[in-house]
């Protein structure tokens, strides 16, 4: 199911440095979305910026509210940030393949880098086990996105900051390493879910391989259509000999980490 709708903006609030939580009204998308899926927003009214922009669904609420967490990085997001409650917003979604949910015996470990928390919050909201853990890395303390912006779901979390202004000083993958060392879970009971900048994902993928933990990652690509029509959003998968392209918008954005060729430029 996918929909193209003129939705209403319910709120659009600043939750951390350059980071906003957008709430839009769409019963259809809220009803059909699964964690890891995304929407394409048409931000401009005129012909520039031309293309829609992809954003993960970071949660749903009250049956008809779709939540999007976004960071202002360029011209589309700068325009989005100026929108106010009551304005209309054209949304296409839900799109793509979401996360395969862990079964009840598994311990889900979520690893997020920065705005990469977006799809993982939705995942955490959806998983019903109480032992879900999320590790989140941010640049600095003012960039931290509080878990409770999404409502009050129960989750254990730990935070790292690059500059050490909050939590562990260093990389979020170091939090993950510590966690994997300290704990005595059997690898087969663990399941990794990650989203964030590519170097981080690459490291997570390596650790998953080392520890034989199944790992799903949500990755990004520049997109034009979001629905498999333009063939623009490829990512290299497989190793050199068996290399093929996968379409991030329809084969992904969630992939098992071993499917991705992490050495592509």
């Amino acid at each position: 199911m996918m929909f193209e709708q003129k939705t209403e903006i319910i709120f659009n609030k600043n939750v951390a440095l350059k980071t906003f939580l957008l709430g839009i009204r769409s019963q259809e998308i809220a009803a059909h979305a699964i964690p890891g899926q995304f929407v394409m927003l048409r931000i401009g009214k005129g012909p520039d910026p031309l293309l829609r922009r992809p954003f993960s669904i970071s949660g749903t609420r009250d049956q008809d509210l779709v939540l999007i967490l976004y960071k202002v990085v360029g011209k589309g997001t700068a325009l989005l940030q100026e929108k106010r409650a009551g304005e209309g917003l054209s949304v296409l979604g839900p799109l793509g393949r979401g996360f395969g949910l862990p079964d009840d015996e598994q311990v889900p470990l979520l690893v997020a880098g920065g705005i990469g928390v977006a799809p993982l919050f939705f995942l955490a909201q959806t998983i019903h086990t109480t032992n879900t853990q999320i590790m989140m890395g941010f640049g600095s303390s003012n960039e931290i996105i509080p878990v409770d912006v999404m409502g009050d779901f129960k989750i254990q979390y730990s935070i790292s900051t690059d500059d050490g202004t909050h939590g562990h000083g260093g990389l979020v993958t170091e939090l993950l390493a510590t966690s994997l060392e300290k704990h005595t879970w059997h690898p087969s009971s663990l399941s990794l879910f990650s989203c964030g900048p590519k170097p981080m994902l690459k490291r997570v993928a390596e650790m998953a391989l080392e520890h034989h933990i199944p790992c799903q990652v949500s990755i990004e690509a520049v997109m034009a259509c979001g629905m498999g029509a333009c063939q623009g959003c490829v990512v290299r998968s497989g190793s050199h000999e068996t290399q093929t392209y996968q379409y991030v918008c329809k084969d992904g954005p969630v992939f098992f980490s071993h499917q991705i060729d992490w050495n592509q430029p």
Partner: protein, 309 residues
Amino acid sequence: MNHISDLRVKIGPLGLKNPVIAASGTFGYGLEFEPLLDLNLLGAFIVKGISLSPRQGNPPPRIVETPCGMLNAIGLANIGLEVFLRDKLPRLKNLDTHVIVNIYGHSVDEYGELANALKGVDGISAVEVNISCPNVAEGGMAFGTDPQVSAKVTEKVVQNTDKPVIVKLSPNVTDIRLIARAVEDAGAHAVSLINTLTGMAVDIDKRIPKLANISGGLSGPAIRPVALYMVHQVVRTVKIPVIGMGGIMDCRDALEFLIAGARAVQVGTANFVNPTATVDIISGLREYCDEQGIEDINEIIGSLLLECR
């Protein structure tokens, strides 16, 4: 309002229920859009360019946005003729619209082979020949930049098919009228234009081209004035029908091309921005005709007045 106006147009032997066609490479195999619109409403749609063998296409990034436009360097990625006929076509056959197959080859013979393979195949209404791809034998310049080579490709396709042949022209030429005339003389039933303009963008932070392929094809509203002028020129040069495209986003844009003399229009990049662009344009045209009391859309086509300017 009672929609009495007649939107039907004829592209040579091909009758369309309205003059709106989804452009190749921007509408997948049609099926992708089924959840959002009724394909049967379309005048026609053109599938992604098909080659003899499947192609993976270019490495990423393949797409970059530019002012009022986008560059793409998909590299003609496609599933190949065989898989298309086996997996996609059966799902398109029962549609009440025209499915047009866009083809491209790496040599004149490959074009012939493709045409031949589509001969007699049910469910395909016409062939659109993409002559904008690099001609390896001629040092990488596109087939479509040379009138003689364009004519050769056209002739080959016409000889090898039983279907109407639309030749799709490249805008990256000094005088598009020469190419149009050459393919007309070679037997094309219609021409469509424009394909993308070649362009480039640079990442000033990394000092690399933004596209892995270095250059790409520019499409979208940015190119509309260029497209419209070429359509205007070609309409006044050939007798066969002209299908116009380039930056058409809405009904008003489509009307510019129809008034300039395009018998039909194709909608490309707009499908990404507004997936229902094609059907929105169709209903827009219908409303416009109703409002203006136009009974037959052919009254509008080519109605541009040049004298009073």
